[in-house]
Symmetry: C2
Subunit: 319 residues, 2 copies
Amino acid sequence: MNSRSTDTAELFKDACAGDRAALARLLSLIERGGDDARNIGRLAYPKVGDGYIVGITGAPGAGKSTLTSTLIGHLRSKAQEVSVLAIDPSSPFTGGAILGDRIRMQSHATDAGVFIRSMATRGHLGGLSLATSEAVRLLDAVGSPCTLVETVGVGQVEVEIARNADTVVVVVNPGWGDSVQANKAGLLEIADVFVINKSDRPGADQTQRDLEQMLELSDIASVAWRPMIVRTVGTTGEGAVELWQAITAHREHSTSDGSLAKRREQRLRNELRAIIERRLEHRAREICTGARWEEIQNEMLARSRDPWSCADEMLAGIL
Amino acid sequence: MNSRSTDTAELFKDACAGDRAALARLLSLIERGGDDARNIGRLAYPKVGDGYIVGITGAPGAGKSTLTSTLIGHLRSKAQEVSVLAIDPSSPFTGGAILGDRIRMQSHATDAGVFIRSMATRGHLGGLSLATSEAVRLLDAVGSPCTLVETVGVGQVEVEIARNADTVVVVVNPGWGDSVQANKAGLLEIADVFVINKSDRPGADQTQRDLEQMLELSDIASVAWRPMIVRTVGTTGEGAVELWQAITAHREHSTSDGSLAKRREQRLRNELRAIIERRLEHRAREICTGARWEEIQNEMLARSRDPWSCADEMLAGIL
């Protein structure tokens, strides 16, 4: 075992004992990926408990961060501990998480019962989804009873990440799009709870009717759980209690009918597949370097070869 | 050569001669991926001309389709031919493109100078980006002088696809988010032209000031091209002329300073990389089937093995 692996085990032990700096360090290693992330995953895997994961997604500007903040407040008022992962597949150019929204959560920053962490894309999108799964597992393994996973937008990667939760909360606003738009974003199918945030604005009734109609028209009406619709005003905290009640109702329902266990099983299957894909991608990056790689690209740019035959040559050794 | 390959060559010949049904069929084959897509790519590659690609992206509901439709109208008034690819990474569950927005373009459906096509995710996100590149190449190869690539949302996949254009148009609305949100979506860095659509609504001046300020604060001010800001009202066609002028100004600028050639070169390099990645992913899907795959997953679900050691075993043969 090399020294870095030893460090990982040491950090994990410390994190389990409540050391937040160690936990933060482990999450950074997960974000970075590679061998350390893998070691952390293997340490956390046997320690996973019954930590509950709530995914929160919706369009940019829908007020997800403010809503998350009020949820934290509600949980803390009941003396419940909570972790927050804010997932930010931000600019492919600047890298790193943009922390603007996190400022809105700063009121909880010094509360020992709250752990807040941003995660951003480092290079690869699939990597972020996988890193999120590993981060959630780590939080569970070190004893966090509940993790809120908040994603920034409604791109497919965000939707994928949000789906990887036990309960998925989709945040919309009054006047937000029509049913076609909601369908497009894939939000209708993943929501266990719809939140109409900023519901003090005009159009909340109409949005509620739209959502109800969409649910009527969709196949979702035929499945066991019919998504609940809750109205909130993130800035005042209105509706936070009802939102948590809806989340809890879904948790109880999915626990009792076995769908939670099934969902978690499917999640693990998906994760294995993602690990395999990611390892192959890593291999692809290794292949796509060096002198022959440069040469082959120049041939392609000169149009003397097409990209497919170039790919054939580069992959000849491993496929 | 098998019969399907022969079909592809025949279809390509017909599409080059102006047969739209053949073109549509080829695009379906590209969307499906696999050997046919590869054959079409190899046929199209040597025939690529100077077809211009305009990417149009922005948040759901920003009015991209309506704007695209007015752009088509403007181009047709100048007797220019145009193709539109509407890229829809829609629901991961329902599959297939949701055609709601396309209805807004129906006025052009019977115009022989306009070719409109939706493309959706079939299974894999990276696949959609690659399929879009191949579709754009095919349209160029069969003689389309200009292709508008419209993406549905602002997820990273959409942003990636929109970036793969010669000129990138980012559509925002008055009151649309703040600079943090825009930064998050990665829109600031990819825009060659900003459109404030629905600019007859309150807040257009403020949005313009916000955008200008964001451009001031960003590094973009130091590069050769400073993104232009255009105001439009998609529903009335107002600003369509100015938008096309801005696109043309960017085209002329990037042609003369060599940045267009560089961008296209980079695009081709990225595509080669994507082809390699996709082929590896395909291999991963082949690996992840069969009795041993089921067995290994059951061991994992029973928690007698962790996902990483499962991945090791499945990949032992090829990595």
